[in-house]
């Protein structure tokens, strides 16, 4: 133990003997660490938001559809289970939220324009918690019950249709016999969403009203289930799959939106690759610094060896020196990253490239997210790889022949 203290003290002093070199190397490590953590926080924030937005459009973590519906989203492929059966099976299952709904493609027409949209017939109370519409922030009002006779549309769609709260629009779709099903609705609310595509693509009507319009009785086409954690939907999936039987299709959100699912999967890989690339760029400088530090004190090392210091201690001392340098750099770099992310947590406005971000599936405000795991990962990557990088110079230093080393002209 005493030896360790001596080695640590020695290493610390050696580190500051050439303070210029140490400070430059420290600068590089600090910058590298900062970049690792900062960039990761930005990416995590973006993907988190993308997934949050994406899941709210799907919505839910696990979905149930009639067989073939995903390929052919038609009213004829409704779910062969009634709301009562769903309630009997899942009322006490412990999901955060769940709902059944009617979701079919439709055409909406005002006196001026027509557009293709997705009609969502919902029970507003059941979806309040996971809807991408903030009920309270709707211009006008949101739907109040499944029997509500009004329609709620997006701001962008209202614009295109030249309609507004209080005016009438017509929805057209097909009923199960493929007769045209149409019905007039009064616009009772106009919502705004993170994504323009949501505002253009979705309209909300009461579930019972939609069922009546589409002449589908009490059938629904989609059931959605929300669990506690979108990263781990297996418990929800298993419970739902066991509950509904084989007559329907059960899918995870990662299967409904494969782009988002892939994003989530490749994220961790991307973060790790980025950290390793940064470390490799650093490692050349690190090894160089150690090589120089060893080289300029070859004679001292020879002397220590001659005086009876064990080669293992030389090895240990140089590795401790390297670890100290890295740890110090990591400490400052991490602190700096934290200090630069915290003021940005209110969101970074990217609306200048908003439509481009939407193409990526992201909204135009970026909220950086600093995760403890990422900070730990960055530190571990640097320390572990740094340890291996310093092995070679340290090993070399401990293998000097004392006599040769002492007489070396440096």
């Amino acid at each position: 133990m005493r030896i360790l203290i001596v080695l640590v003290r020695l290493a610390w002093r050696y580190l500051w003997r050439n303070h210029r070199r140490t400070i430059i190397m420290l600068g590089a490590i600090v910058l590298g660490t900062w970049a690792m953590i900062f960039m990761t926080a930005l990416t995590r924030g973006m993907v988190d938001q993308m997934i949050a937005d994406g899941i709210s459009a799907i919505p839910g973590h696990v979905q149930v559809h009639g067989q073939g519906y995903l390929d052919d989203p038609s009213v004829t492929r409704s779910i062969p289970l009634s709301d009562e059966e769903f309630a009997a099976r899942f009322a006490d299952a412990g999901f955060s939220a769940w709902a059944t709904r009617v979701r079919v493609p439709a055409v909406i027409t005002s006196e001026r324009e027509s557009r293709g949209v997705t009609l969502l017939g919902i029970d507003p109370a059941a979806e309040r918690d996971f809807s991408f519409v903030d009920y309270g922030a709707v211009d006008g009002r949101f739907l109040e019950s499944p029997e509500d006779s009004g329609i709620v549309i997006g701001a962008k769609l209202a614009d295109t249709l030249e309609t507004r709260v209080g005016k009438r629009v017509v929805l057209m779709s097909q009923d199960p016999d493929n007769d045209i099903a149409d019905r007039g609705f009064r616009v009772v609310g106009v919502f705004e969403a993170n994504m323009q595509a949501f505002e253009e693509g979705f309209v909300f009507v009461g579930k019972a009203t939609a069922q009546k319009m589409l002449r589908m009785g009490t059938a629904t086409t989609e059931a959605v289930f929300v669990g506690d954690d979108y990263r781990n939907v297996e418990p929800v999936y298993d419970k739902v799959a066991a509950g509904v039987g084989d007559a329907v299709t059960v899918s995870r959100w990662t299967e409904v939106d494969t782009y988002l699912g892939t994003m989530l999967k490749t994220m961790d890989g991307f973060v790790l690759v980025w950290m390793i690339v940064i470390f490799l760029a650093l490692s050349f400088g690190l090894v160089n610094t150690l090589v120089m530090a060893v080289f300029e004190r070859v004679r001292e090392i020879g002397l220590m060896l001659a005086l009876g210091m064990k080669p293992a201690m030389i090895l240990g001392q140089i590795i401790i020196e390297s670890m100290m340098l890295l740890a110090l750099g990591l400490l400052i770099g991490t602190a700096l990253a934290w200090a630069s992310i915290v003021p940005l947590e209110g969101g970074i406005d990217l609306s200048a490239v908003g439509e481009g971000m939407e193409m990526w599936g992201a909204s135009s405000v970026l909220y950086p997210k600093l995760y403890l795991e990422d900070v730990v990962l960055a530190n571990v990557v640097v320390l572990v790889l740094g340890f291996f990088a310093s092995l070679s110079p340290a090993w070399r230093a401990s293998r000097y022949e004392p006599v040769e080393a002492i007489t070396k002209v440096g």
């Binding site: 050439n18 210029r20 070199r21 430059i24 190397m25 590089a28 910058l31 590298g32 970049a35 960039m39 930005l42 390929d71 052919d72 989203p73 004829t76 493609p105 055409v107 027409t109 006196e111 001026r112 324009e113 027509s114 557009r115 293709g116 614009d159 295109t160 030249e162 057209m172 779709s173 097909q174 493929n178 045209i180 494969t258 782009y259 699912g261 892939t262 994003m263 490749t266 980025w274 690339v277 940064i278 760029a281 650093l282 050349f284 400088g285 160089n288 610094t289 090589v291 120089m292 300029e296 990217l350 200048a352 490239v353 439509e355 481009g356 971000m357 939407e358 193409m359 990526w360 599936g361």
Partner: protein, 409 residues
């Protein structure tokens, strides 16, 4: 000069390991930069071409405001004569008129809302890839009237094949009821889900008939020979249609606003990463050169006492960095180009690329092109930063005093 060069060359090989480590940092980042930048440029080119050539063209003549709202009554009057006029005046075939409306399409079993385009069958294939992507049946012909070509996903959803009938239901330009029965002539497959799911094309004259367009349309699409030719062509088109016609020319950036921004967003995050990489290399060079200058203080004192000017010493130090930088540049470019060239033959892909690429109209395997710019730009920046990093160590020499320097051991 020769002797300076020789001195600098010998100096960097006094500590071969240090030189190789410093050069190694450069080579490492240069390989990465060459590869990443080539891949990026290749992807951006594909993104732009795939998106523009499939459908929207490099520019369109439209009514003002149509680009944002796409309302039915924001029309271009007498759209076919205008397109014919532009074809003649520009001496170009790649001009075609279109009109667009939303309608409900019903087959025997299914009904879906779709976007219907009225197109000129003879000219459309010259401005868009879609006609060439017809998988079943055929594309529209001049003497077609109530024939329609639809996307493959739509055909599957509607459960129709070529020869089947569809009933279209929509609103005319004046808000009146518009309906027609059309025959499916062909089914195209672009691979872009949104296009294959939502789009149908019918002859423009029949479209004008059905939707009471009275000879009007919504857009004249113009495809330039290449993206680089687009601005010049646009100036010529603007001179021809003029503002007094109540029309505007929208460039591809206005037609596909997401495209340039997606590229910008991607570029800025990539450049942030590249910047970090380059600065880390610069740190490495700064450290090496500062150490190599410091450890030679005594020696520098001696040569200065013998009459060498500090300015020349500084030049030697800069030259040393330049030589190392050059070495890193050459090795990095060779290795990076080799890697990229290999991938440009074999193709680059990674897990999850399918889904990611589809989002941007990209194929799942990308063949990054090797161009002078994409190969040289990254390493060149690294080289410049290498030189910048050694300015400080070289500049320190100016303050060196021979006698004091010789006292340093």
């Amino acid at each position: 000069m020769n002797i300076v060069l020789r001195l600098a060359w010998r100096n960097i090989w006094r500590q071969p390991r240090r030189t190789w480590l410093t050069t190694g940092a450069m080579v490492f980042s240069n390989i990465l930069l060459v590869f990443m930048i080539s891949l990026q440029f290749g992807m951006y080119g594909l993104m732009i071409n795939n998106t523009l050539q499939v459908f929207s063209g490099h520019m369109q003549v439209q009514a003002p405001g149509y680009v944002d709202d796409a309302k039915m009554r924001q029309v271009v009057d007498d759209v076919q004569p205008l397109a014919a006029h532009l074809r003649e005046a520009l001496g170009s075939d790649t001009v075609a008129a279109r009109a667009r409306a939303f309608a409900l399409a019903s087959s025997e079993d299914r009904t879906y809302g779709i976007a219907i385009y009225g197109v000129e069958p003879r000219h459309e294939p010259r401005v868009s890839n879609l006609p060439g992507l017809v998988e079943h049946g055929r594309y529209l012909q001049d003497d077609d009237a109530y024939e329609i070509v639809i996307g493959s996903v739509l055909a599957r959803n509607l459960q129709v094949a070529t020869g089947d009938e569809l009933t279209l239901l929509g609103s005319g330009v004046d808000g009146s009821f518009a309906a027609a029965v059309v025959v499916v002539a062909g089914i195209f497959e672009s691979g872009v889900k949104d296009i294959d799911r939502n789009i149908a094309q019918m002859p423009l004259t029949a479209f004008q008939d059905m939707f009471y367009m009275n000879g009007a349309g919504h857009q004249v699409v113009i495809l330039a020979p290449s993206l680089a030719d687009a601005p010049e062509l646009q100036a010529r088109v603007e001179a021809l249609v003029g503002a007094d016609d109540g029309l505007v020319v929208q460039d591809w950036d206005a037609l596909q606003p997401g495209l340039r921004q997606a590229i910008q967003a991607d570029m800025s995050s990539a450049f942030f990463m590249y910047g970090i990489l380059v600065v880390l290399v610069a740190f490495s060079v700064l450290n090496t050169q500062l150490m190599s200058v410091l450890e030679r203080t005594h020696e520098f004192g001696v040569v200065m006492a013998l009459g060498m000017k500090p300015g020349l010493l500084g030049r030697i130090v800069l030259l040393e960095s330049a030589l190392m930088g050059l070495l890193g540049f050459v090795l990095g470019v060779i290795a990076g180009t080799a890697l990229t060239a290999w991938l440009s033959v074999r193709g680059f892909t990674m897990p999850g690329m399918d889904e990611m690429a589809a989002q941007f109209n990209l194929p799942a395997r990308i063949y990054p092109p090797v161009t002078l710019l994409s190969v040289a730009i990254g390493p060149f920046v690294v080289f410049v930063f290498t030189l910048l990093a050694s300015v400080y160590p070289a500049w320190r020499l100016r303050r060196l005093h021979p006698v004091e320097a010789m006292r340093v051991n």
